[in-house]
């Protein structure tokens, strides 16, 4: 296996972006640009599928590892995947083409530039998930800010400037502390290579501070309460494709970071700070669910529900148990699909009515039935109905939490009920009820591309809801190994 498959996954979108950069930008609907972008991302998706197929599920060691000297005697460019990261790469390559399809109606001006930003974003996101060196990871993690800032700022809604700044500065502030931690790790352990660090371990006396520094970055990105406030703003103002990327993939970087770095590198500190994470997660779940109940803007509601869902994820990760951790990974994947779908759903009605307020709608079930059905499916998946993908993760997380801490689990379970409440209420107010607003009668049902996007998301949502086995097979060994390594480290301290 000598072909640098991961690097080509990272590079391909950039090549596509370069190609687009040198084509001429046309006003209006620039089909060529869109086809080029779509083609690039779909090829990337197939490469990642191939990656998954040829991935050896029986071992927890990193595969497809590439290592090159980058800064001599200091940093090596090192990438590789294990059972955990490969699924996030798949998620990324799966969601990005859908984003590109979704620009059909939403992005009116400077389409080419938008596509370039999305493509560059994709390669940075893939880079985050397969980086095996802390500095390389940081590079990709931070670099993603640039395209996202532009996506929100140029193509966003009326308050876009404020949101873009908030997004950028919040995330940057969190991340610089991580940079200090990374450099400190280099001086403490003499390397920033993740695999080597797993073996070496980091002296327990440094772990707490380092953990906090990493936490500050990941907590902002997750986002955890109380640093979540950038997310609703960013979501509301971002164009649909931007919201989808943000919810489906960017938030997962932090969850992935927690698993890969916080738990993997700082086992002792993770144990120490578990109560902190539990508290923040539970607050996030309950508090933001209540906030979500009161929202009048659909995108904002879904944004707050994202915070709540990510609260479940962090809860599950820090149970430090098989079920909890697996549940968190599955929850991140399912949230990636479902929140992407929900934002696309909001985008669909927004394109027609140019309003995201819930009160604009009501009683549209008879006017756009196809949409209503798909929207229902995703609503149910978001609230975790058994038989949908959303259920699997949530259930496992709660199971893991029950083993670890009964009280936390009970409180978190209320979050499930609240989740059902706000999602169903949203659905009821938008789809059912009396048709008051006469303008709604002009609405047309899903067009072909919208139908395609939502079905693409619906199929895996249902399929993995009934049969999540392939995913578990992929992550199981890696997670078991991570937990074993963790327990071993704790025992030896």
């Amino acid at each position: 296996m000598n072909f640098p498959i991961l690097s080509s996954l990272i590079l391909l979108p950039i090549v596509g972006a370069l190609f687009l950069f040198f084509t001429k930008d046309k006003e209006g609907n620039n089909l060529t640009a869109k086809y080029v972008a779509l083609f690039t991302t779909i090829v990337n998706f197939f490469i990642s599928i191939y990656l998954w197929i040829s991935f050896d599920q029986t071992t927890s060691s990193f595969q497809f590892v590439e290592e090159r000297v980058w800064i001599k005697d200091f940093i090596n460019y090192k990438v590789g995947v294990d059972g955990i990261s490969i699924l996030f790469i798949l998620l990324t390559t799966f969601i990005t083409p859908l984003c590109i399809v979704s620009v059909n109606n939403t992005v009116k001006n400077r389409l080419r530039d938008f596509l370039i930003a999305i493509l560059i974003m994709e390669s940075f996101m893939i880079g985050v998930f397969c980086a095996l060196d802390l500095v390389v990871f940081y590079l990709f993690f931070e670099a993603g800010l640039i395209p996202m800032f532009l996506i929100i700022g140029i193509w966003g809604g009326p308050k876009r400037v404020y949101s873009a700044f908030k997004f950028f500065l919040y995330t940057l502030l969190g991340s610089v502390l991580m940079l200090i931690a990374i450099i400190s790790i280099y001086w403490i352990s003499g390397t920033t290579d993740v695999i080597a660090l797993y073996e070496l371990g980091i002296d327990a006396k440094y772990q707490n501070l380092l953990w906090l520094a990493f936490f500050s970055s990941f907590a902002v990105k997750t986002p955890m309460w109380p640093v979540h406030t950038w997310l609703p703003d960013a979501h509301v103002e971002a164009p649909t494709a931007g919201s989808v990327l943000l919810a489906a993939i960017l938030l997962k970087m932090a969850g992935y970071g927690f698993i890969r770095f916080s738990i993997g590198l700082f086992p002792v500190a993770s144990e120490v700070f578990t109560p902190l994470v539990y508290t923040l997660s539970v607050i996030a779940i309950i508090f933001t669910s209540f906030i979500a109940l009161m929202q009048e803007d659909m995108k904002k509601l879904i944004a707050y529900s994202s915070v709540a869902h990510m609260g479940f994820v962090t809860l599950g990760i820090f149970t430090l148990q098989q079920q909890g951790l697996e549940g968190s990974i599955i929850q991140m994947l399912s949230h990636g699909l479902v929140s992407a779908a929900l934002f696309l759903c909001v985008g669909v009605v927004y394109d027609r009515m140019h309003s995201r307020l819930i009160k604009t709608y009501g009683g549209i079930v008879t006017i756009i039935p196809k949409y209503s059905i798909l929207f229902m499916l995703f609503t149910l998946a978001a609230l975790g109905l058994p038989g949908t993908f959303g259920f699997v993760g949530e259930f496992l997380i709660l199971m893991g939490t029950f083993k670890d801490n009964f009280l936390v689990a009970v409180i978190a379970s209320f979050g499930v009920i609240l989740g059902a409440a706000y999602m169903l209420w949203l659905y009821k107010r938008v789809i059912f009820g009396k048709l008051v607003n006469e303008d709604l009668k002009q609405m047309v049902d899903l067009n072909r591309s919208e139908y395609l996007m939502l079905t693409c998301l619906a199929v895996p949502t249902l399929f993995f809801g009934f049969y999540p086995e392939p995913l578990f097979n992929t992550i199981e060994v890696s997670v078991t190994d991570l937990i074993n390594m963790h327990n071993l480290n704790i025992a030896s301290k």
């Binding site: 800064i71 931070e142 610089v176 001086w187």
Partner: protein
Amino acid sequence: MDNLNLVLPEILVSLSIMFLLILGVFKKNSSLLTFNLSLVTISVAIILTINETFSLNRITLFNGGIVIDQMASLMKIITLIGAFLVLGISSTYLKSFKIFKIEYPILILSSVLGMMIMISSNDLMVFYMGLELQSLALYVLATFNKDQLKSSEAGLKYFVLSALSSGLLLYGCSLIYGFSGSTNFDIIANQLTSDEYALTFGIVFILVGLAFKISAVPFHMWAPDVYEGSPTTVTLFFTMVPKIAALTVFIRFLYVPFLNLIDQWQMIIVFLSIASMIFGAIAAIGQTNIKRLVAYSSIGHVGYTLAGLATGSNDGIQSSIIYISIYVVMNLALFSCLLMLKRNDQYYEDFDDLSGLSKNHPVLSLSLLIILFSLAGIPPLAGFFAKFYVFKAVIEQSMYFLAIVGLLSTVIAAFYYLRIIKIIYFDKEKEKYDSDHGIWLKFSLTFSTILILLYFIFPSKLIEVVSRIIII
């Protein structure tokens, strides 16, 4: 007899200054010729520096007054390249203000000569001579657009304050001479016993003078006014070239004679660094003129450079040198963009003038985007690596406070860079600017932007060169 080959570049530059002066007297309308000859002089000097001295280890000349080592050669080359590009870019700008005169290249050459002497100085007197030579040339350069009130004001301000700081510096030199018995760095280093606290006064005075020259807080007051008032090309020269020389002197002064007194000066440098980083970041927020903004941002960047110096280690020195090299490239790129904002022979330099630039000038705005994100220190651009090396060196010495303050101030600084990006990309567009720019401007913009953008592919190259610099 010392090997004069080693100072051939300096000799060449001084001879050509004299020659050009005479040429200017006897030949009418020789501006263009002077410009071209100066460019030739500088490029020959670059080649000479590379050929004669680049591979040498430490050699001292003229009774130890001049030192030729890796650092001197590298810094001279950067200085010369900077001056070369500034001179090249300047002509169009000067022509449009009708100040395209022979004095300009000659003054640039004299200040470059002064800087080269500063860079190589190993003696307080030699160092002071070089410093004054470059300063005097710079005062005149600042007032070069003498019909404009602001330009004259800038020059006068610079002159008065700079003369004051030179006075302090000279007083410091005399104190050091008095207490150590020599002006030569090496001899001072040998004579030094670490309990000579009186020497500390001398060090402090000299540090104040040097801090003034690189505009570190709290000796920065002149910078914004001078930067704003001077002709843009001169501002570009100010932000790039003298900083390199001053930094070299800073390094040599602190690390050759006074390394043993590190306990005495380290806190001062840390303070200068922290104050500059924070002040540069906060004060820049309220600006509306790009040149003023650059002044404040350069104060901030000087803070990062000093952070590397404060470490007292070779890694720190190297990281400072890397920082300043990358910073010079970023500044060159930024000013090339600024000089492209021209419409009907009028130059624009306010934030409002950038409004919506991305609609009409997509390539220029993209370059600005890259440059500004790089200045803000966002990976994977070159500016990030500059900061990264500095903080790597800082954290190696366990100076966590400095590192945390520094990185937090990058977040504040990011705000004002983002504000410019916001104006360029998110705001309503204005009239188009001219798009026929000189080849120099295009070249320097393309060259520097590509360096910034693609630095991350081969980051080792610069480190390899810099890592040969060993002072301690």
